[in-house]
C-alpha cells in the first residue's frame, strides 16, 4: 500500500547517481529547528483488506441511507443514471488535470463546451463558465461580478434565497468590502418586492432572487425584472436547473446573471459536496466572468478543436488583476451534469421536472384533502412547506419509521416552528409519499 514505483535496489541506484548515502541528505536544506522530531502521530497504516473492513464499519454508521428521503433545501435526491456513473468513472476523465494541453485534452474540453452550450440553452443566456465550486459560491461570484460591472458596492438579496447562499455572499462580500443587504421574506414565504424596491439605492449594483425560492415558491420574477430595469441594477437569478425543464429560462425574463447549484443534474448527495456551481451571463459581460471558459477553434489542419480561452481574465495569467482567484473548479461534476443533460435530453429532463412537480402536488392535495395539516406555500415546483402540529414529535416518529420527512425550517429560521420543508423528486413513489403522509398524521 505504499504506491511507490521503485524497488529497494532502484532507490539505492538512484541515491548512488545522486552521490548520497542517506535520503536525509536530500533534506539537508531544511533547518534542524523546523525539522520534525520523531514520527507523525497518526493511526497505523492499513493494508487494503483491513482498510476496506474498517471503512465499511464506519460507513454503516451512516444510517440515513436506509431511510426514505424527503430532504431538499439545495441538495436533491434525484436519480443518477447508471450511464452517468459509468462514463464519469472512465479514468481518462477523472485522473486528468485541467486541460492546459489542448491537443491531449480534447475529451475534457469538448465536454465543457457541451456543458456551456447546454447550460446556456437551459438558462436562456449567452455564455457560461466551466463551473465554480457550488451554488452558494456561484452566487457570491455573481455578486462580486455585478459590483465590478456596475462599479458599485451594494447588493440587495431577497431573504427567500437559500440562507447559506446569503451567508456565503456575505463572507465573500466581507473580503471585497461589499455591502450585502437582505430583505426579509413575507408571510407567504415569498420575496417582499416593495421592500426590495425601497432598498435599492444609488449605490446598489444588483438584486438577487431565487427561482424557485428557498421555500419552493415561484417568485414574481417580472416584478424583479421591472425593479432592476427601473433602478438600472443588475438582475441576478439563482435557479434550480431541474426546474428549468418546465420553467421559463431566466434569460427570457431579463436576468443578467443566472447562477445555481448543478448537483441535481446527475451528481450524488455526498453530504454536501463535491457539487458544482453554474454561472451564465450575457455576452457583453463575458470578460467580467470568473472561471474557465472553453472556446471553439481549429487545429493546424483546420479541423475543429477546443481550447481554454479568454485566459487573460484568470489568476495564472493576470494574478492580482484576475476576475477571481478561482483555479480548480468542479470539472468532473460538470462532466456528470453534461452527460446527464445529454442522456436525459429534451424529453427526459422535462419528465424528471414534471414527475418531481406532480409528486409535490400529490402531497399538497392529500394534505389539503385531509385538513389535518396546513400547506404554507403556493405555486411550488417540487418543495412544499407544511405546518404540522407537534412537528417535533412527528418528526421523531417519522425517523423511527425510517423516513427523513424533510427539513425543519427552524434549522434556519428559529421562528418558523412546526414548519417542515418537504422535497419531492421523481424517485419518490406514491407508496412512499403515502407512508410520509401517515407518519405526519395526515393520512
Amino acid at each position: 500500500m505504499r504506491y511507490i514505483g521503485h524497488t529497494p535496489f532502484q532507490v539505492k541506484e538512484m541515491m548512488k547517481t545522486l552521490g548520497i548515502s542517506e535520503i536525509d541528505e536530500l533534506f539537508a536544506d531544511i533547518p534542524e529547528e523546523v525539522k520534525l522530531k520523531g514520527d507523525l502521530d497518526l493511526p497505523l497504516s492499513l493494508n487494503e483488506v483491513e482498510l476496506k473492513r474498517e471503512i465499511l464499519n464506519l460507513a454503516r454508521d451512516n444510517k440515513a441511507g436506509e431511510y426514505i428521503n424527503f430532504m431538499g433545501a439545495g441538495a436533491y435526491d434525484h436519480y443518477v443514471p447508471a450511464v452517468v456513473k459509468a462514463l464519469v468513472g472512465r479514468s481518462e476523465f477523472y485522473t486528468s488535470y485541467t486541460p492546459y494541453q489542448p491537443e491531449r485534452s480534447q475529451g475534457t474540453l469538448a465536454a465543457i463546451f457541451e456543458y456551456q452550450t447546454m447550460i446556456a440553452n437551459l438558462t436562456g443566456m449567452d455564455v457560461v463558465n466551466a463551473s465554480v465550486y457550488d451554488g452558494a459560491s456561484s452566487l457570491a461570484e455573481a455578486v462580486l461580478m455585478a459590483c465590478d460591472i456596475k462599479r458599485k458596492n451594494r447588493v440587495v438579496i431577497s431573504g427567500a434565497v437559500h440562507p447559506e447562499y446569503v451567508e456565503t455572499a456575505r463572507t465573500y462580500g466581507f473580503g471585497y468590502n461589499k455591502d450585502i443587504a437582505v430583505v426579509p421574506y413575507t408571510e407567504s414565504l415569498e420575496t417582499d418586492w416593495d421592500k426590495i424596491d425601497d432598498m435599492v439605492d444609488g449605490s446598489t449594483a444588483a438584486i438577487v432572487v431565487s427561482m424557485p425560492n428557498f421555500f419552493g415558491v415561484l417568485e414574481d420574477v417580472k416584478r424583479a425584472r421591472d425593479i432592476a430595469k427601473e433602478k438600472n441594477v443588475m438582475f441576478i437569478v439563482v435557479a434550480n436547473p431541474i426546474s428549468l425543464g418546465l420553467l421559463r429560462p431566466p434569460g427570457e425574463y431579463g436576468a443578467d446573471i443566472v447562477v445555481g447549484e448543478g448537483q441535481p443534474l446527475g451528481n450524488a448527495l455526498n453530504f454536501g459536496g463535491p457539487y458544482l456551481g453554474f454561472m451564465a451571463t450575457k455576452s457583453e459581460y463575458v470578460r467580467r466572468m470568473p472561471g474557465r471558459i472553453v472556446g471553439e477553434t481549429v487545429d493546424a489542419e483546420g479541423k475543429r478543436a477546443f481550447v481554454l480561452t479568454l485566459q487573460a481574465r484568470e489568476q495564472h495569467i493576470r494574478r492580482e488583476k484576475a476576475t477571481s482567484n478561482i483555479c480548480s473548479n468542479e470539472a468532473l461534476n460538470a462532466l456528470a451534469a453534461t452527460i446527464y443533460m445529454a442522456y436525459l435530453g429534451k424529453k427526459g429532463l422535462k419528465d424528471v421536472a414534471y414527475h418531481s412537480h406532480i409528486k409535490a402536488r400529490y402531497f399538497i392535495d392529500e394534505v389539503k384533502k385531509s385538513g389535518r395539516a396546513h400547506i404554507v406555500n403556493h405555486r411550488v415546483f417540487n418543495e412544499v412547506v407544511v405546518e404540522v402540529d407537534n412537528l417535533e414529535q412527528k418528526y421523531r416518529e417519522a425517523l423511527e419509521q425510517k423516513i427523513l420527512p424533510g427539513i425543519r425550517l427552524s434549522r434556519f429560521f428559529p421562528e418558523e416552528e412546526n414548519r417542515l420543508l418537504v422535497a419531492f423528486t421523481e424517485k419518490r413513489s406514491k407508496h412512499e409519499i403515502d407512508f410520509l403522509l401517515k407518519a405526519l398524521g395526515v393520512k
Partner: protein, 479 residues
C-alpha cells in the same frame, strides 16, 4: 472533421432516458405553475443511450490521465490516484447522505471528517482545521479572510499582503479578492526570498506574508525561521500555501515553521484525482488563536458522538453551502489511513528523490536557474533551446505529447524564462523517469536537426497544434 460533439448525434424524437406513466395523478401545469412561468422549448440533445455511451467513451480517449502515463506537471502533484479510494468513496452509505440528514444518522461521515481534521492538524502542525474550502484557491481565500477578520476584531489596520515574485497566481488574486494591497518581494539569485528585500517590505501595514515552502522553484525556504521572526515581530501573520506539501510530509511542518494559517490541497498531496480540473478540496488550518474565525461549522466530538459545531463567535461565515467537498475528503482520508505516518513520510522522501534524480538526468540539456538540491519539483529553462534553435518550451511540451508523456508545466514560475517545471511525484518508477529523460534528449537532438519541424508538433495526437488565438478572437463559446 475534428473533435465530435454530442449535438451532432441528436435527431428529433430520439430518446435515451425517459419516464412514463407516473404513479400519481397528472396535472395541468398552467394551473399548478401558471402559464407565464412555463417554458416553450428546451434545446437539449435527443440521443439514445448507446449514442451517449459511445460519444463520451470516444471523448475519454481524446484525454490523457495519470492512468495513461507519466504526468510531471509541476506544482500540480499528479501522483497516482489509488483505486481503493474511488471504490470507498462510491459506497452508497456516503454518496446518498443528504447534508441536512440528522447527525445521529450521519455519524460515519462526521467521524471521518473529524478524524481528517485531526490528521491534517498533525501533518501540518496546526491546531484546528476546516474542511469547507472546495479547492486550493478557495482555501487561500478562506485563510486570508480569516486574517482579515482577525485584524478587524483586534482592531488593527493592516492593508498589505506580501507575496514573493515566484508565487502562484492565486496568491495575489486571493489577496486582492480579500481587499488587500499586494506587495511583491523579489527572489534572490538562490531562488529564495531575498531577506533584505523582505525586511524592507515588512512594516506595520503588512497583514501577512503568503509563502509556498518549498517554493515554486522546488526550493526549501531555509530562512523560514528568520522570515517568521521578521513577520511576527512586526505583528504580521504567516500564510502557508500548501500546494507543495508533498515534499515535506513527516519531515517538517508549516506549524512548526511559524505559519499561522495554512491550506492544503487534498487533490495534490493526498492523492485524490484532479478530475480534469476539479473537484479539489482545500482545507484550511489555523493556530489556536484563530479557531473562532474559521468558517462554520467544523466537526467536533463529545464522548462517542460527532457533531457540527456552529459556535464560532468570530467566524468569517461560510465559503460555500454545506461543509465542503466531503466526497473528496473521504478519498484523502482513506489515503492517510492506508499510508500512516511512515507511508506519508516515505511518499515525500521518494517524491524528493525522484525530482533530484530526474533533474540530474536532464539538467545538461537546459539552463538551470538555481543549482541546488531540490525538493519535490525543479525548474529548468529552455532559453538555450530558444536562442540556439528557436525552439520554445511550448514546442518541447507539444513534442513530449508525441512521446506519450504529459508535458511539465511551462512558463511558470514567471521569474524563469522559458520555464519547464517538472514534478515527477513518488508514484513514478525509475523506468518512467529514465524514459522521460531519454525522450527529452531525443527531442533535443530533433531540435538541433530539424527545429522547424518542432513547431508542427504534436504529430500523433487526436488533433494537431491548436489555434488558441483564433479561439480568443472569435469567442465561439457554445454550439
Amino acid at each position: 472533421k475534428g473533435t465530435p460533439l454530442i449535438f451532432e448525434r441528436s435527431l428529433p424524437g430520439r430518446e435515451g432516458f425517459r419516464l412514463d406513466d407516473p404513479d400519481v395523478p397528472g396535472v395541468d401545469l398552467s394551473e399548478t405553475l401558471g402559464g407565464e412561468f412555463l417554458r416553450q422549448d428546451l434545446d437539449l440533445p435527443e440521443v439514445s443511450e448507446v449514442d451517449v455511451v459511445r460519444h463520451y467513451t470516444k471523448l475519454s480517449k481524446m484525454n490523457f490521465g495519470v492512468d495513461d502515463g507519466f504526468y510531471p506537471l509541476g506544482s500540480c502533484t499528479m501522483k497516482y490516484n489509488p483505486k481503493i479510494n474511488e471504490e470507498i468513496s462510491a459506497l452508497p452509505h456516503f454518496t446518498e447522505l443528504h447534508p441536512y440528514a440528522p447527525e445521529e444518522l450521519a455519524q460515519g461521515t462526521l467521524r471521518f471528517m473529524y478524524e481528517m481534521q485531526k490528521f491534517l492538524c498533525e501533518i501540518t502542525g496546526m491546531d484546528y482545521f476546516t474542511l469547507q474550502p472546495a479547492a486550493g484557491a478557495h482555501g487561500e481565500l478562506t485563510g486570508i479572510l480569516i486574517i482579515k477578520k482577525y485584524l478587524e476584531i483586534t482592531g488593527e489596520k493592516r492593508n498589505k499582503i506580501i507575496v514573493p515574485d515566484s508565487s502562484h497566481g492565486t496568491n495575489p488574486a486571493t489577496a486582492k479578492e480579500s481587499g488587500f494591497e499586494i506587495v511583491k518581494v523579489k527572489s534572490g539569485k538562490d531562488g529564495l526570498v531575498d531577506i533584505a528585500e523582505l525586511k524592507k517590505a515588512v512594516d506595520e501595514d503588512v497583514a501577512a506574508l503568503m509563502l509556498t515552502n518549498p517554493n515554486t522553484l522546488g526550493l526549501f525556504e531555509k530562512a523560514i525561521p528568520e522570515i517568521s521572526r521578521i513577520l511576527h515581530e512586526k505583528g504580521a501573520l504567516l500564510y502557508y500555501d500548501g500546494a507543495n506539501l508533498n515534499a515535506i510530509m513527516g519531515i517538517a511542518r508549516p506549524g512548526d515553521m511559524g505559519f499561522d494559517v495554512v491550506h492544503v490541497n487534498l487533490h495534490k498531496t493526498f492523492s485524490t484525482p484532479h478530475g480534469g480540473g476539479g473537484p479539489g478540496a482545500g482545507p484550511v488550518g489555523v493556530k489556536a488563536f484563530l479557531k473562532d474565525f474559521l468558517p462554520k461549522p467544523i466537526v467536533e466530538r463529545e464522548g462517542e458522538k460527532y457533531f457540527l459545531n456552529y459556535d464560532l463567535p468570530h467566524s468569517i461565515g461560510r465559503m460555500k453551502a454545506f461543509y465542503g467537498n466531503i466526497g473528496v475528503v473521504l478519498k484523502a482520508y482513506t489515503y492517510v489511513r492506508s499510508l500512516g505516518a511512515r507511508g506519508l513520510k516515505e511518499a515525500s522522501e521518494m517524491a524528493v528523490l525522484n525530482a533530484n534524480y530526474l533533474k540530474k538526468q536532464v539538467e545538461d540539456l537546459f539552463e538551470v536557474p538555481v543549482n541546488a538540491i531540490c525538493k519535490h519539483e525543479f525548474v529548468v529553462s529552455a532559453s538555450n533551446w530558444k536562442e540556439k534553435y528557436g525552439v520554445r518550451a511550448l514546442d518541447i511540451a507539444k513534442r513530449l505529447l508525441d512521446y506519450g508523456f504529459h508535458p511539465p508545466t511551462i512558463y511558470f514560475p514567471l521569474i524563469v524564462e522559458e520555464a519547464l517545471m517538472i514534478e515527477p511525484t513518488e508514484t513514478e518508477s525509475k523506468e518512467a523517469l529514465d524514459a522521460f529523460a531519454a525522450s527529452l534528449k531525443r527531442i533535443y537532438d530533433e531540435a538541433q536537426e530539424n527545429p522547424d519541424l518542432m513547431q508542427k508538433t504534436p504529430h500523433h495526437m487526436p488533433v494537431k497544434r491548436v489555434d488558441e488565438v483564433k479561439a480568443a478572437r472569435e469567442m465561439k463559446l457554445k454550439y
